[in-house]
Each structure stands twice: as C-alpha cells, then as structure tokens.
C-alpha cells in the first residue's frame, strides 16, 4: 500500500529479534544480537552517533530513551522518516546511514531549534565546558540561529534550594531527571508538566524543590545534560572565609571523595588520591585538613552501641524494642523517610551522620583545644553528596544560629577549587591528615560504599557483643552491588539478619517488603545513591557507567585493607575523645552532640 511505508512488524521479523542479525551502518557490515538498538549497533561498529536525551543508566538497569531530542536520528533505507537510533531496534538487512546530508541537515536544524529556546549565557553557566548541549553545538558547528522577531523563549522561575538550583530556562526536556527521580529513586518530586512549548520538568504546582518531596539526593543533577539542574556552588564563599584572617577554617573530606576526585584530573576511575587531596587542600589554605572517616568511626561507636542495646533488650524479651535499626548516615535517606514514612520516625538510629558528628565535635572539642571562638571556626566539608548541603543547614545542627558545618562542597566543587587555585594536582606529593580528627580506621573508609556502614558496624558490634577478637575482618557477605542484599552474620550463635539497599527505589521496596512481612531484619543499611556515596550526586559524573562505580568501591576496599587499624573502636583518637570529652557512647553529652531527632516532613499543601 503506497501510503504505508512503516510496516507493523509481523511475526517473522519479531522472531528475528531473538537471533543475530546482519545490518549495514555507514557502509560497514555489522552483526549484532537481536534486541540491539541502532545506536548501540553503531557504537559497536565504532560510530558514536551524537545524542542528547538518550542515557543508558547501566548501573541502574534503566535506559532513559524518550526519543524526544531527535538528535540521534538516522536514515534507514525504506523508511519514510528519519528514525531515532536510540529507540529503533536493528532488523536483519537494515541499511543505516548515520551522517548522510539529509541526516546532517535535520540534526543541525533540530539543534538550532533547541538552541533557539536556550539562554546564551554560556560564559557564566555552571555547566559551561561540560554541557552536552554546548558540546553538540561545537561538534555540529552551529553558527547562527534564524532570527524571528519576538521569538518566544520559554522562561521559568529560578528555584534555589539549599542543595540544588533549578534553572529550567536551560531544560531541553530530555526527561533524564524525571526518570531518575521517579523510576530509580521513586521520590516523585519531579514530573513533566504543562505541554507543548511550555512543557518542562517541575515539582507539583511548580512549588520550590524545598517544599516538594525532593530528598536532595542529587541524582537528577548527576544526569542533567545542561545547566538546568546544578548544585548550589559554595566555592566562592569558602574562598572568602579562607581569605578572612579572623577565621580558622578546617576541612573534612568524606571517604568517597578520595576514590573519585582523580577522575576530574584525568586519572582512571578508582585511583586513590587521598594524599594529593590533603596536599591540595592545605595548599588552598585550609588551616586544618581532617578526615570525615574519623567521624565515621565515631558514628560506629554510637550507632553500634545503639544496635547492641536494642539487640540485648530484644534477647531479654523486650517486645517493644524498635528493630530493625536503620542507618542514618545518608541525609537523602533521612529526608526520604521523613517524607514517606512519618509513622516510623522512631525506628532509625538517632546517631547523626559523620559530617554532622564531625561538625559538632569540631565546634566544641576542637574549638576549645584550638582556643578559637565557635563563630570564628569555619567547618567545611567535602562531600560526594548534594543532600549534605541541605543537612548542614538543618536547625537541629545549629547552635545559636551558627551551624556545626558551615559549607558542604561537592567533589566536583573541590575539583574546581583546586583548578581555580592553579594547583597541578597530578604531580602533588602525598600528605597526611592533621591530628587528631584526621585519624581513622578502615571501617570509616568503607562508609563510602553500599554495605560499608553496616560492615563497619558489624565489625565493632560483633566484637563488643561476643567479647572476642574477630577472626576475619572482611565480611564479604555484606559486599555487592545488588539493589537489595540480605545476609546473616553469626553473633556467637545468634544469627543477626542484615538488609542492605542502595538507591531509594530499592529502599522503598525493602521497607514495603518489611511492612508486608516479607523480610525480618535486625539491622538495615540504606544509601540513597547507586553504589552508595561513591555514586553520589556530588561526584564526578558517572553517567550510569557501572564500571566507574565499581572501580571507586574497590578503591575504598583497597584503602580499608591497607589500614593498620580496621575497627572503629580501635581508633586511638576516638578512644581519647571519649576519655577526655564524651565519657562513653550514648552518654548524656554524646546524646546532645552526636544524636538527633527526626521530623514528619510529609508534603503539606497550604493554600
């Protein structure tokens, strides 16, 4: 039939989807497995087709392919229209042209359209230099945009949250953030709203992100191709604090940062740059360079003590004890359960996160030691995370309005700061953290990966519970990349059931599973981001590449293995802190400084 050129696939060619098939792409013959898209087939043939919206989040097992940008279109012989290569399956005998003049003209015209509805303030855009749209404009040589008088440019209110800035004027409707927020994280803060020219991704009622169910996990920022979603940048304010002679500025670095920072300087994923990072921070001008791992060990002391206390009560037959205990180090996870499980606020550990424990100790114990007034001590943290920016602003973590942690910079911001300071990072000599809050054990290091917190807690809890030295420190059963992992650890004859989830979607599944009676656990570790903090929203962009995340995790396990001390309770500086300042875990002082409360933050709509 003359008008029908895109035939509906018949049973025969569906059959061929299972088998291998031969096709020709840009005159190259290629064999691919059934079910391969044209985009992937071209990649296998060494042809990278330009694309914008398409994103294969391998790690998460999810592909974002709305086929909306139409940049990756190709010409397929026999088809009336150009086909989006990302969403078109190969068929046997297909002849594909990825860069014919017809394709090039279409691709450039569509890109010109996208640019015609995009601000041209690249000079000061936070994404400049790593913006996928900008790269495309460079690659395809766009030199002018047809001028139409009074051409409308879609504009939206800019939304500043404590962690994330939404500048939707720069949105290209790739829908990656929507996919991540809904399908992966099941947070549901974002949805496509409006339609046509005014279509955009936004929270309900276009309210501020801060008033939405957003957890600030930052995974949307991590996948945004343009400057539409970016982190709140505090580098300038940190520089100002460093330049202020009245301020003493201390910095803490989270474990996951050292496994990824090198990538921003061209190093392979998983390169450990702990020593170089310390050197760089010192060179930038921080007065003291400390390690969040120290606070991670402290967290284990408190959280481990809490776990043991609850376990003991359970074994003594107390039926009211809150079990399983849930970890509380991940601020996006804390936000998530405050939003979604307001009936369960008494279940998670009350222990603050390492960042906040560090801040609280720094502004009391350390300030005292250094003889610096609280408001003259500036605590900066380097975090793989954007939710940490929100966390450090929470009122619970302020004393008389002064926050325990003043600024939380992301790994990306630190990389930028190092570049701004003109430091040749790659050739820096390794340096060590300062004492006392730079001392840490291997247990603190593995906080940066999924399963790490619970492994660290297990090392300490098991030894304290049984009173015997552990025979093996590595709990392989707690390590893995499955979205939900379950394991049992023998506590002297008592099996302790442990659940581990990373990504909030898996966390939801786990919690709903518990409610449905599918699981029974004593302890659960939850991290909001893929792979744990190594895949955090503040890390160098991994763009869904599972290998990058795996390499970062391995680096942390490597550092753990190299550490002379690997159990938090063996950290001499921690022991000293308790003896000189805190007394003992769960003491009154520890409660005041190291524990917190949770609030019902389920979304309320006010008129």
């Amino acid at each position: 039939m003359a008008t029908v050129k895109n035939p509906i696939p018949t049973n025969q060619n569906l059959q061929s989807a299972i088998n291998n098939m031969k096709l020709t792409i840009d005159n190259k013959p290629i064999d691919v497995a059934g079910g391969t898209t044209v985009y992937e087939a071209a990649k296998q043939a060494g042809i990278i087709i330009p694309r914008l919206c398409y994103l294969n989040l391998e790690t998460l097992g999810i592909e974002n392919k709305p086929a909306g940008c139409r940049i990756c279109v190709v010409e397929i012989e026999g088809r009336r229209n150009l086909a989006p290569s990302c969403a078109t399956l190969c068929a046997d005998g297909m002849i594909v042209k990825t860069s014919s003049p017809r394709v090039l003209n279409a691709r450039k015209t569509v890109l010109e359209l996208l640019l015609s509805d995009h601000p041209k303030d690249c000079l000061i855009c936070p994404k400049s230099g790593r913006c996928e749209l900008q790269n495309l404009a460079v690659c395809l040589g766009i030199r002018e945009i047809h001028a139409v008088e009074n051409a409308e440019v879609s504009t939206y209110r800019k939304d500043h949250s404590p962690s994330i800035i939404r500048d939707m004027d720069k949105c290209v409707m790739c829908r990656r953030c929507e996919t991540v927020c809904n399908t992966v994280q099941t947070v549901g803060a974002l949805s496509a709203v409006n339609r046509g020219f005014m279509a955009v991704v936004a929270p309900a009622f276009e309210q501020d992100l801060q008033d939405s169910p957003c957890t600030f996990c930052g995974q949307c920022v991590a996948v945004c191709p343009t400057g539409a979603l970016t982190e709140v940048d505090h580098t300038s304010r940190v520089i100002r604090a460093l330049a202020d002679p009245t301020k003493t500025v201390v910095v803490q670095t989270a474990p996951a940062v050292r496994a990824a920072l090198g990538e921003e300087f061209g190093m392979a994923p998983g390169t450990l740059v702990t020593g170089k990072m310390v050197a760089a921070l010192r060179q930038i001008g921080f007065d003291y360079v400390f390690d969040t791992d120290f606070a991670a060990d402290l967290t284990i002391m408190e959280e481990g003590a809490e776990l043991l206390a609850r376990l003991r009560r359970m074994l003594e037959g107390d039926r009211k004890v809150k079990l399983p205990i849930l970890t509380s180090c991940c601020p996006a996870w804390v936000n998530f359960f405050e939003q979604n499980y307001p009936d369960m606020l008494d279940v998670p550990s009350t222990a603050r996160s390492p960042q906040q424990m560090f801040g609280a100790i720094a502004k009391t114990f350390l300030a005292d030691r250094l003889g610096v007034r609280r408001d003259n001590l500036v605590v900066v943290s380097i975090m793989p995370c954007l939710a940490k920016k929100y966390e450090c602003r929470r009122n619970e973590f302020k004393v008389d309005g002064n926050p325990d942690v003043d600024f939380a910079l992301s790994t990306r911001e630190l990389a930028h700061l190092i570049k701004e300071a003109n430091i040749r990072f790659n050739t820096l000599p390794d340096e060590d953290f300062d004492a006392p809050m730079g001392e840490s054990t291997g247990a603190g290091v593995i906080f940066g990966t999924t399963g790490g917190v619970i492994e660290a807690a297990t090392r300490t809890a098991c030894e304290l519970f049984t009173g015997r030295q552990l025979e093996r420190v590595d709990f392989q059963e707690l390590r893995g990349m499955e979205g939900i992992r379950t394991a049992s650890v023998d506590f002297n004859g008592t099996p302790i059931h442990i659940g581990i989830a990373h990504q909030l979607g898996n966390a939801r599944k786990l919690l709903d599973g518990i409610r449905a009676g599918m699981y029974h656990f004593h302890a659960i570790e939850i991290m909001a981001c893929p792979g744990g903090c190594v895949g955090g929203g503040g890390q160098p962009l991994h763009l869904g590449n599972a290998d990058v995340i795996r390499a970062r995790r391995q680096a942390l396990y490597r550092e753990d293995a190299q550490k002379p001390l690997r159990k938090s309770h063996e950290n001499p500086c921690i022991q000293q802190l308790y003896s000189e300042f805190l007394d003992h875990p769960l003491s009154e002082k520890a409660h005041r400084l190291l524990h917190t409360r949770y609030f019902d933050r389920s979304v309320k709509i006010e008129r």
Binding site: A189, V193, S212, K322, D343, I514, S602, I605, R607
Partner: protein
Amino acid sequence: MDSVNYNEREAPAGSSNGAGAGLKACQVQAIKNICQSFHNDEGELINILHKTQEAFGYLPPEVQAVVAGELRIPAAKVYGIVTFYTFFTMQPKGKYPISVCLGTACYVRGSEKIVEALKKELDIDIGGITPDGKFSIDSLRCVGACGLAPVMLIGDRVHGRVDALHIKDILAQYP
C-alpha cells in the same frame, strides 16, 4: 521473628500525611469517595479528575494533593496530568463560564471577532474571570455545531451564529 514489631504497624492512609490542608473534612471525604468509586486505581486518574472537577468546579493544589494521596502517587504526577489536559483547570470559573469555539469552521466565520468583543466588553483576557465572578472566558476547539458557526457556549447553552455586535445583548440575558 516476633520482636520485629515494626511489621505490626499499619501503613498510614495516603492522605493522613497532611494533604488536604485548607479543605473542609467533608470536601476531603468527597474526594476520597470519588477515588474509591474508581477503586483508587491509578489508571483511572483522568476519570477521577473529571469527577472531582465536576464536584469542585476546578482543581486547586490541595484537591490534587488529596487525590495523589488516595491513589498513592506523587502529587507532581497529578499536577503533570492536570496541566497537560486543557479540560482540567486550576482556576475557578465564573458563574457563567463563556467558551468561544475557535475551531476552523468558526474561525473562518469570524469567531476571533467575538473573542475580541467579549474581551472588550468584560475587560478580561482569555482564561480570566470578571472581578465579580460572574463571567469567565475560555476558548475551545469545536463543539461540533459547525453549522451554527460562529458558536459560543455560556454554561451549557449554545449560542449559534453569534454576531460580535450583539455580545452585549447576549450577556444581558445572564443576570
């Protein structure tokens, strides 16, 4: 494991989480009833919103939030739907909502002039409502009364073969 008393908790009802603030209890209940009549099925969201708009006249945020809570879906999703379909409105309508057909048949027979005349007469824009809440103007695409073009609806009543010069007289029929 009996000590895991966490399992004994009941999941909170969807709308106990504060959605619905600003609505009267009976209004919240009315929305819940509508949702239940569709078995709280997410797939019926559009039908549910139709019924809800029928009941409330429009779909303000607090109403959408209750629907979202009942169906256990994000409010953003409900909002995404409400803003996608032109039939749904977040603005209250006038006592006499006016809809001018801007379908092709009416367009070529001069419906634009009617819109202009209405805007001028009522001093509001399309999508607007008069300060006294009496009239609101909207446009729609084809009510299928093309034989009577140009056509305008006031409430349910169809005014056919409308002449821009007679707008004032037509409006005067509505007290």
